[in-house]
């Protein structure tokens, strides 16, 4: 009896101690290697893109970024058309998607009964599972023509139609159709993160607000939204990063025209879309390296967005702790 009883005070056998140590070492090793590999990979990719873009960087210099031209026959290249397309489509998508995502998340966590909320939450998240190329095809065949025949004429009939960005002939492919497809792509991401954030708001706080006599809307505004603000900002910036990087769906819906259009109804082009369309089949080394220059610009924009997202979170956290 005594020989089989485990005595916690007794010294452990050598083998057992060594086994434990081996596991620790192995675990530590794997995690260090994985972390180092991820960091190294980021560096390697960035270096390779810059190295391949180097001939164009040397030829055109930094002014490439604000040069409004792209002519493979004349050998004149610039990035402004595509930077404009990327930034404008993504910002339009962000402005529409952010309030909608927050509204969806609030509905799912605060308003809808659980029986309704669960299936709807799944459906919204499944929207993110549609491959972007399929969404782009739907954009070409269904959504684009609908925008041209109904949405854009309707916008022009409202006072908004007086703005130059809503002037011109409605078109199925252009800045606005691409931006709306991007909106559909980023809503599932931002709304899923927002939902996660709202669930984590301590029940005590909202109950407290209600007990103090605030309405449901007041408690949402003053407690839920305030508590989750840094997370919401980060979620929105993550969505923006997603929109910046999207190539295929934008390529299918933006109209691929090498101009900065005055009207958002008209075709333009974006960084990701241009890279996807023209890298394969580039007819000269200059064209290939100019396309990689575009890739480098896109990479800088996306990395900057992610860094800003992290800074925002840190800043908000600090501000909250100070309160």
């Amino acid at each position: 009896m005594t020989s089989t009883t485990y005595d916690p005070a007794a010294p452990e056998t050598d083998l057992r101690r060594r086994g434990l140590r081996l596991g620790d070492v192995l675990f530590k090793g794997v995690s260090v290697v994985a972390a180092a590999a991820a960091t190294a990979l980021l560096g390697l990719i960035a270096w390779k893109v810059l190295a391949l873009a180097w001939p164009a960087i040397q030829d055109f210099g930094l002014s490439f970024v604000w040069t409004d031209a792209w002519d493979p026959v004349a050998g004149v290249y610039g990035g402004l058309i595509f930077v404009y397309g990327t930034v404008v489509t993504s910002l339009i998508a962000l402005v529409i998607a952010a309030p909608l995502s927050i509204a969806i998340a609030l509905f799912l966590t605060e308003i809808a009964p659980r029986r309704v909320a669960a299936p709807i939450a799944t459906m919204v998240e499944l929207l993110a599972a549609i491959p972007s190329v399929v969404l782009g095809l739907w954009g070409i065949l269904v959504f684009g023509p609908w925008i041209r025949d109904h949405l854009e004429p309707w916008i022009q009939a409202t006072p908004l139609g007086l703005l130059p960005v809503f002037s011109g002939t409605p078109s199925q492919a252009g800045i606005l159709p691409a931006a709306l497809v991007l909106t559909i792509m980023i809503i599932p991401i931002t709304s899923a993160i927002c939902r996660e954030l709202f669930i984590r708001v301590p029940r005590d706080l909202t109950d407290g607000a209600l007990a103090l006599g605030s309405t449901r809307w007041e408690s949402i505004r003053s407690v839920v939204l305030t508590y989750a603000a840094p997370g919401i900002a980060a979620a929105v910036l993550l969505g923006l990063g997603r929109a910046f990087g999207e190539a295929i769906a934008v390529n299918q819906t933006i109209g691929n025209h090498n101009v900065i259009p005055t009207s958002w109804f008209e075709p333009g082009d974006s960084l990701g879309s241009k890279i996807a369309a023209e890298y394969v089949g580039a007819t000269s080394l200059e064209q290939a390296s100019s396309i990689l220059y575009l890739a480098a610009i896109l990479m800088v924009i996306s990395l900057a967005t992610n860094v800003v997202a992290q800074l925002v979170v840190v800043r908000f956290e600090r501000a909250r702790r100070a309160v």
Binding site: A173, N258, V280, A282, T283, L285
Partner: protein, 350 residues
């Protein structure tokens, strides 16, 4: 959060497994002598898909071909991931030097059609070179413009905005089309030029023949350029084009054959294979926008050299008879002669 992580990990593992499986599969599918793998031009695909069973019957050569576009064809043969590439445009000097010893052989010939979508036009649209150039330059913007009315006295041309639609990807069709426009319009030549990708001054871009065709189908007032076979298979209305003899020609086999008369007797360079805008002597039937399509083969092809020689030789000789039902025109003797001399260069080498 934890569940998402586990899910992500599972996806990663499945993805890695699939990638690994794909690699082993492609390694085991690497064909022995007697079979060749190629990719590229979508334009030539209908013809190649007729050749595949026929060349298997005749010579026992197994050909695998995937239509990925001329640009991809050049890129993949340059990377030597395929045995041959196919492109509708001859290679540029930069592309040739990157390919390190590739030979470019003409193996198909067909016309380029201009399908349009004009509701209620009533009769077949007729265009001439300057009108097409001005439409794609964006200087003619409406279908009832005087320049188009003059060519179509009987048609009911609506007051409808013209939407020129062009290929956004690198395309041999763009090469043939812009070659023609540069020939007929000094303004086009000066402002835009000709290449597989150009800076189109007006309109909308889409990827692939099916992409541009899709936009034309769904947009009233649109016009584009695709190979004649594609237009005919999809029952598109396409324009009749005025040639130098003053006739309005169609991109059928006779129209393209008539345009061949301008080729020199002995061809020594692929750059001579230009048959756009034929001279007046070609006659009223001559269709002005046609293009050769090419196969690109490494000159040192290792153990595949003999199979490739046999296959390409068969394609430019026996294979040509499969062309006419698909609106491909059999190669004339001078072009065949040029092709033979090129085929000889395919050697085992190093």
């Amino acid at each position: 959060m934890k569940r998402a992580f586990v899910l992500g990990l599972a996806v990663l593992v499945i993805g890695a497994a699939a990638a690994f499986a794909g690699r082993t599969q492609s390694a085991s599918a690497k064909p022995a002598a007697g079979s060749v793998v190629g990719t590229g031009s979508t334009f030539v695909f209908p013809l190649v898909s007729k050749w595949i069973p026929a060349v298997d019957n005749a010579l026992g050569i197994k050909v695998t071909y995937s239509p990925t576009g001329s640009g991809a064809g050049i890129a993949q043969v340059t990377a030597r991931t395929v045995d041959f590439g196919a492109s509708d445009a001859p290679m540029t000097p930069d592309q040739l030097s990157a390919c390190k010893g590739c030979t470019v052989i003409p193996w198909g010939l067909a016309g380029m059609s201009l399908p349009y979508n004009i509701p209620g036009i009533g009769s077949r649209l007729r265009l001439d070179g300057p009108a097409i150039a001005n439409i794609f330059l964006g200087s003619i913007t409406s279908w009832n413009a005087p320049a188009i009315k003059r060519l179509n006295p009987k048609a009911k041309l609506p007051d409808l905005k013209i939407t020129p639609v062009y290929r956004a990807d690198s395309s041999g069709s763009t090469y043939a089309f812009t070659n023609y426009l540069s020939e007929v319009s000094p303004q086009w030549k000066g402002k835009v030029g000709s290449a597989t990708t150009v800076n189109f001054p007006a309109g909308t871009g889409a990827r692939g023949s099916s992409g541009v065709a899709g936009v034309v189908k769904s947009t009233a007032g649109a016009i584009t350029y695709v190979d004649a076979a594609y237009s005919i298979q999809n029952k598109f209305q396409f324009a009749l084009i005025k040639n130098r003899a003053g006739g309005f020609a169609t991109p059928g086999v006779r129209g393209v054959t008539a345009a061949l008369s301008q080729l020199p007797k002995k061809i020594t360079n692929a750059s001579q294979l230009k048959i756009v805008d034929p001279p007046k002597s070609a006659g009223k039937r001559a269709y002005p926008i046609s293009t050769f399509t090419f196969v690109i083969v490494p000159t040192s092809a290792g153990d595949k050299a003999q199979t490739l020689r046999q296959f390409v030789y068969w394609a430019v000789t026996q294979g040509q008879k499969f062309g006419p039902p698909l609106y491909f025109v059999p190669l004339p003797d001078n072009v065949k002669g040029f092709a033979y001399r090129k085929i000889k260069k395919i050697q085992a080498g190093t």
